[in-house]
């Protein structure tokens, strides 16, 4: 009697576990799918000079339209270096190097060293001073030995960093034919 009771309980519990497992899996998968986490279709943005939308994944294929910089596209399929995208009613292929995950207007320069130098957080300044000291004296460790066997030239590096760079003009320069 006792043993019978035990097996009944056992199968009952197993059934419970199974159902809980199935339902939670179903629930989670629907949630994830609805959120677009696992879905293949993803929103991307055209970067650079814009991109030519083509009928087929090939340079010989017919050009459908030109997408301008910043256009929102929906990726549908990939093949080699090509992405199939949906833009409005159009569907076509563009090069994968021409799209990015983030809106192109928001260009987040982490760099900004010059700005950071003036900020109240002193960490950046300390690092700069440190590198300058290394450049002049050569880094010396506790025992007074020179750590790095290589020469450094931070003056030349800072000259390079001070060279102006204009992204928009450069991009325009690149598209100009001679």
């Amino acid at each position: 009697m006792e043993a019978l009771h035990q097996t009944q309980l056992n199968s009952f519990m197993l059934g419970k576990i199974k159902s809980v497992l199935i339902f939670s899996t179903l629930f989670l998968s629907t949630m994830v799918l609805a959120d677009g986490g696992l879905a293949k279709e993803e929103t991307r943005y055209i970067k650079g000079l814009g991109a030519v939308l083509r009928e087929q994944p090939s340079f010989q294929s017919k050009k459908l339209t030109k997408l301008s910089r910043g256009t929102k596209v929906l990726t549908v399929e990939t093949k080699g270096i090509w992405y199939k995208v949906q833009v409005g009613e159009n569907q076509g292929w563009i090069l994968r190097g021409q799209i990015t995950n983030f809106p192109v207007k928001i260009k987040r320069f982490v760099f900004g060293q010059k700005i950071r130098l003036n900020s109240s957080s002193g960490r950046r300044i300390r690092l700069r001073t440190f590198t300058a000291v290394v450049g002049v004296k050569g880094l010396v460790d506790n025992k007074g030995e020179k750590i790095s066997p290589y020469q450094t030239d931070y003056v030349a590096l800072e000259w390079l960093e001070s060279q102006p760079s204009d992204e928009e003009n450069s991009v325009r320069f690149l598209t100009l034919s001679e």
Partner: protein
């Protein structure tokens, strides 16, 4: 009761899982996203610090060329490429090294150098764009950072750099200096892996086609390196890169696979000749 306690961990797991997904999954994801980006930003800063150190050593070995016209030209081509196809969070620098050696270097964080010898060997703008794009790909794919295994216990490269190089103590700075030496040695002696170079070559070709440049020119450039590899002029390059035959075949394969055979792009030969005439 015995059975229940046997599977207790399982119930707890399922219940917490379900509750966790109920409890503002969207918010959780958003928070994770912010955390990731904050971390990412710290990492990028460290990567730039790291790259500065490596670049300073490159410039310690080779003098920089201060010919403003030519530097501006290289800068325009490089920035034009990076603005469109590079990592959006970085500012890239393009410098010319005043040496007869034929080579190009990329330090982490966006510092890219090409030698005067390499520029003289090139015959058009597509080749220059190809070489810069190859170096850009090394930065984008963080090849050096990956090879030095600057990764934390969770094995992700992205959260690693800040942990390794983020310290403000002297020992952390010495560690940074040591890593800079390792990276410098990698650029000058050991080189990256064959796969990384093959990857950078393919990415360069992909960038060239995306920008409308002639991809075949880049292959021609690789071929033109051949006679210099045994001589001293490209000794560092031959030591740190796979053979030209390997690189050429790898690119041919890429071209065939992606149907780029008949793609004819621009070369801008005249402009290139005018701009680098002073070298």
């Amino acid at each position: 009761m015995n059975l229940f306690s046997k599977h207790l961990w399982f119930y707890i797991f399922i219940i917490s899982f379900v509750f966790a997904s109920f409890g503002n999954a969207q918010e959780f994801r958003l928070r994770a996203h912010h955390l990731f980006w904050k971390n990412q930003e710290a990492n990028t800063e460290r990567e730039i610090d790291f790259g500065r150190g490596v670049s300073a050593k490159i410039l310690g070995k080779y003098p920089i060329l201060r010919d403003e016209g030519t530097v501006r030209y290289i800068n325009q081509i490089g920035t034009g490429i990076s603005a469109q196809l590079g990592r959006p969070e970085l500012r890239y620098y393009f410098g010319i090294l005043d040496t007869d050696e034929i080579n190009a270097f990329a330090a982490p964080g966006g510092y890219i150098f090409v030698t005067r010898g390499a520029l003289i060997l090139m015959s058009n703008e597509a080749q220059l764009a190809g070489v810069l794009a190859h170096e850009l790909a090394h930065v984008d794919q963080k090849h050096i950072v990956r090879k030095l295994k600057l990764q934390s216990t969770d094995r992700s490269v992205t959260s690693g750099i800040a942990q390794v190089l983020g310290g403000a103590t002297l020992s952390a700075k010495i560690a940074l200096e040591r890593l800079n030496d390792l990276a410098f040695k990698m650029l000058m002696e050991e080189g990256l892996s064959k796969e990384d170079e093959a990857d950078a070559d393919q990415k360069a070709l992909e960038m060239l086609t995306s920008l409308g440049y002639d991809p075949q020119s880049y292959l021609d450039y690789l071929q033109s390196l051949k006679p210099y590899l045994e001589q001293g002029q490209a000794k560092v390059l031959s030591k740190t890169h796979p053979t030209i035959i390997f690189r050429y075949n790898n690119l041919r394969e890429f071209i065939m696979k992606n149907d780029l055979e008949n793609f004819k792009g621009k070369k801008n030969e005249k402009r290139f000749r005018n701009k680098i005439a002073t070298l």
